[in-house]
Symmetry: C2
Subunit: 83 residues, 2 copies
Amino acid sequence: MPKIIVEIMPKQDLLDPQGKAVANALRRAGNDVETTRIGKRIELHYKNQPTEKDLEKAKELAKDFLSNSVIEDVVDVYIEGQN
Amino acid sequence: MPKIIVEIMPKQDLLDPQGKAVANALRRAGNDVETTRIGKRIELHYKNQPTEKDLEKAKELAKDFLSNSVIEDVVDVYIEGQN
């Protein structure tokens, strides 16, 4: 099924305790990861191949509905296979 | 800071109640989205530009540590800017 992918991350200056816990665990296991951030990847599935208009609509939805602009940034919205 | 991105989604045949709720709300608002699935986007931040070796390591971590293979699939692991 054709998809539009929406990627949302917690804002840079926001604490991300889940990400911090993962980073600590990774470092304890000997990996040289500095930090990790954990966000969301939302797939919107469409019956037909999404058009540019669907993509515009999805970008609006990502900003107004799928993310909380107080604490999150929409980092990417793209049609799968076209990024 | 250079990043490796890990993308994880719930398995296809798994119920995703959060995704279902979002799809219902989107449809009620008049969007022609069929379904939505909600997964995770994990950023691993490195001090230096990650190498192919770091990427291999991150793929292992994604499979063994960052995802739960019983309920999740790792859909992509890539160095930011190189996908």
